[in-house]
């Protein structure tokens, strides 16, 4: 029971963090720093995809991607599909190459920032009545260049939250020694 409450608290804290990141990306950055913000909200989702066992990773990624879709006019299918594919890709990647530390998260965030726009284009073509026809390459370049730095900033906080809220076995499995 206690563990379930801790797990729920962990999810709620991440949902709150996601809300802050979305508002930073959609409001503070454009007001202060210009029209090409980094994909801040994707960083925690990539973290789950990179470090958690597959099933919890999908739970966190799907639920939080669905929340994030409320802040966009995009159909919920688009971010959920794109991040679902990315989660599978991260699981595949970490079985072949993995090292501890924030630089690995930064690498996966670069990959995610690179692949997310083409995946959303694919999802949009599959599902939307008016699919994406004119991508914004400049926004894409800025996202790839700026987003990984956020991974360095947040990695420690994510690990600390995991340590406090997750069970010992889950935390151990979330350190890269993937137990699937």
């Amino acid at each position: 029971m206690k563990q379930a409450l801790f797990q729920m608290g962990h999810w709620l804290l991440h949902a709150l963090g996601l809300l802050v990141l979305i508002s930073l990306q959609s409001s503070l950055w454009p007001l202060l720093l210009g029209p090409f913000p980094p994909l801040l909200w994707i960083v925690p989702l990539v973290y789950f995809a990179t470090y958690y066992p597959l099933l919890p990773a999908y739970f966190y990624v799907f639920s939080l991607a669905l929340l994030a879709s409320f802040a966009s006019s995009a159909a919920p299918f688009v971010p959920v599909f794109s991040l679902g594919v990315l989660t599978a890709l991260m699981a595949y990647l970490r079985k072949r190459i993995f090292w501890e530390g924030p630089s690995y998260l930064a690498l996966t965030v670069i990959l995610a920032a690179l692949l997310y726009p083409p995946l959303t284009w694919l999802a949009s073509s599959l599902s939307e009545a008016h699919p994406m026809a004119y991508p914004r390459p400049l926004a894409w370049v800025f996202q790839v260049l700026l987003t990984p730095w956020v991974a360095f900033a947040f990695f420690g906080a994510f690990r600390r939250l995991d340590q406090i809220f997750l069970s010992e076995s889950m935390f151990r499995s979330s350190r890269g020694a993937i137990a699937e």
Binding site: L67, S73, V80
Partner: protein
């Protein structure tokens, strides 16, 4: 290897994970619904965005106050001089105002009251770089409803598509999902305007015989009741023709750059308002031609010119 020895649990989990995106495919068929479960999230997001907007506003105000203090002495002298000039201009404006009121009464029309407008501040934008929406700090508690038109002083911005109690999401005319009934001002050809890129739109379903051409001005048709009739949208930059298509498509450069907006107006009620030619020139920022300048040398934006006065009288 036994072909039939498979892990049922893994297959079920896999099917479940695949089912979630497929279920969400159905959700998008009802994009108009403002579901209850979105409200707490969007309310909190609006709260955060408003506080960030307030923070940025305070910071910029403080910075500008400091910069102003630096040049205060110099400005004081300039202000004194400007004050004298303004006093003289104010007297002139009082005259114009009286004249304006008199002429309005004569014609018995409500120029500004024909549209009920609500000002709002832009507090955020879409998190997806390929969707063009804005968050504004007004919602249903302020009288906003879905499909209310959104304008700036220059032209059409978009329309409200996701109103929440204290904030709303505005679908910009540059978004590919937007649909605004529009006409080409010169030929009166009708079409549907939707977004193309971050800074351009396209006017579709124009008839081949309509002869739209580069430089034509595109205005609202007024048929949707979101906007007053004749409000500026943009200018045709190119016309696309294909042999097999029965209609034309024109690319339109909006008069407004929606991504650079800070304040907008929501059209709460159009009351069948129509923006006439005289008012259009007031909304668009184009400089008057040499001929116009010669005929109305003392024209002030928003006030009738001497030639207009003659017409009204």
């Amino acid at each position: 290897m036994n072909f039939f020895s498979f892990d049922l649990r893994k297959i079920l989990i896999g099917m479940f994970l695949l089912a979630i995106p497929l279920v969400l495919l159905n959700v998008e068929h009802n994009p108009e619904d403002s579901a209850w479960y979105k409200k707490p999230f969007l309310w909190s997001l609006g709260l955060l965005q408003s506080s960030y907007q307030g923070f940025v506003h305070t910071v910029s105000e403080t910075a500008s106050t400091y910069l102003n203090l630096v040049d205060l002495k110099k400005e004081a002298r300039e202000t004194e001089q400007a004050n004298k000039e303004l006093t003289i201009r104010l007297q002139q404006l009082d005259e114009y105002q009286l004249e304006n009121e008199r002429l309005r009464k004569l014609l018995n029309f409500e120029a500004n009251a024909s549209m009920e407008l609500l000002p709002a501040q832009v507090i955020g934008q879409d998190i997806s770089s390929d969707h063009y929406t804005l968050f504004i700090n007004k919602g249903t508690r302020h009288g906003l409803k879905k499909l209310h038109g959104v304008l700036s002083t220059e032209g059409v911005v978009g329309y409200v598509f996701n109103p929440q109690p204290y904030t709303s999401q505005v679908l910009l005319l540059t978004d590919r999902s937007a649909s605004i009934d529009a006409i080409v001002q010169r030929t009166r050809a009708r079409g549907i305007l939707s977004g193309r890129t971050a800074t351009s739109a396209r006017l579709r379903y124009l008839e081949r015989a309509d002869h739209a051409q580069e430089g034509d001005r595109v205005i609202t048709s007024g048929l949707q009741d979101f906007f007053p009739k004749g409000f500026p949208i943009g200018t045709v930059t190119a016309v696309k023709t294909t042999d097999h298509s029965i209609s034309l498509e024109a690319y339109v450069q909006p008069v407004v750059n929606p991504m650079q907006l800070e304040e907008v107006f929501i059209v709460l009620q159009t009351r069948g308002a129509e923006v006439g030619e005289g008012e259009l020139s007031q909304w668009t920022q184009e400089p008057p031609s040499v001929q116009e300048e010669a005929s109305a040398p003392e024209e002030i934006s928003g006030l009738p010119s001497s030639s207009t006065e003659e017409t009204l009288l």
